[in-house]
Symmetry: C2
Subunit: 168 residues, 2 copies
């Protein structure tokens, strides 16, 4: 089973595809979709949309987990994040895929064991859980991996905090 995690954004949209089996969860695709800030917004949205379609075509994930868009200080950024998330959700839902939103605190709680975890702690846990040589870069890719892992945790009733305890 594949799960796609998305950290929505227009300049950088993080993505992570996890292959989840009974005994193993591994990242089979991890990275960032970028669009040129100098291009008009509608063109950038269309480009992001094409990239998302390609990811969904390639992996046909059973579920798409996406970070819930919250109010941000920078309204312009919040708007473009909302536009990007709308495209991902609409495309996945039209294909009949499950789309689940998680708040930043849910992600921190599921992956690092408590809602107050900082970004570095989350990234280190992503590295540990996916057995990577280093935390994924850029940060948006790591965030997308954390969101996908959150979905796996919620679905399986896993407690990654216990895993963390075992690894430290």
């Amino acid at each position: 089973m594949f799960v796609l995690g998305v950290d929505p954004g227009l300049t950088r949209c993080g993505y992570c595809v996890l292959r989840v089996s009974r005994h193993k969860t591994e990242a089979v695709a991890l990275g960032v979709l970028r669009t040129d800030p100098a291009s008009p917004v509608p063109v950038r949205l269309a480009e992001l949309w094409a990239d998302i379609r390609q990811l969904l075509n390639e992996f046909s994930p059973q579920a798409v987990a996406i970070e819930r868009v919250l109010f941000q200080t920078n309204v312009r950024t919040a708007m473009s994040v909302a536009q990007a998330s709308g495209i991902v959700m609409a495309e996945a839902a039209s294909r009949g895929m499950a789309v689940v939103e998680y708040s930043p605190n849910q992600v921190k709680d599921a992956v690092a064991g408590y809602g107050g975890a900082d970004k570095e702690q989350v990234q280190q846990m992503v590295q540990v859980l996916l057995k990577l040589d280093a935390p994924p870069r850029p940060a948006d890719a790591a965030d997308a991996a954390a969101i996908a892992l959150t979905h796996v945790a919620f679905t399986a009733g896993l407690q990654f905090a216990a895993v963390r305890g075992a690894s430290t």
Copy 2:
């Protein structure tokens, strides 16, 4: 030539298709696309997207004019408006259609003659300009018509204020 005007929204998305010829501008489609607030957001976005595709398939507008999403007091509403606008812009841009955003003040200025016009004045001008028996209802449809008329005005260098002066 057809112009599609869109007042983006998830619960009610206003639309208006104008047929623009050298001597006449008329509304050939005018209404509201609705989604059920009780459904999950991704499903609603997918439904809106299907409706937008159908409109674009039917009329192949040369341009899509859409109200620019500004900060609103209700953050949740602003987010869903941004998500809806993202879908419309991405779909139109993927088809190579021109997508133009107009601010509420630009619309008031173009249609009613000044940026401080109230909603009723804009709706009355829509009625006059499109020779309708009454202002379009619901208001979202009238707003979409105003946005489409704004694009016509900007494109043609028209001054609807002068038309208003002549008609009163």
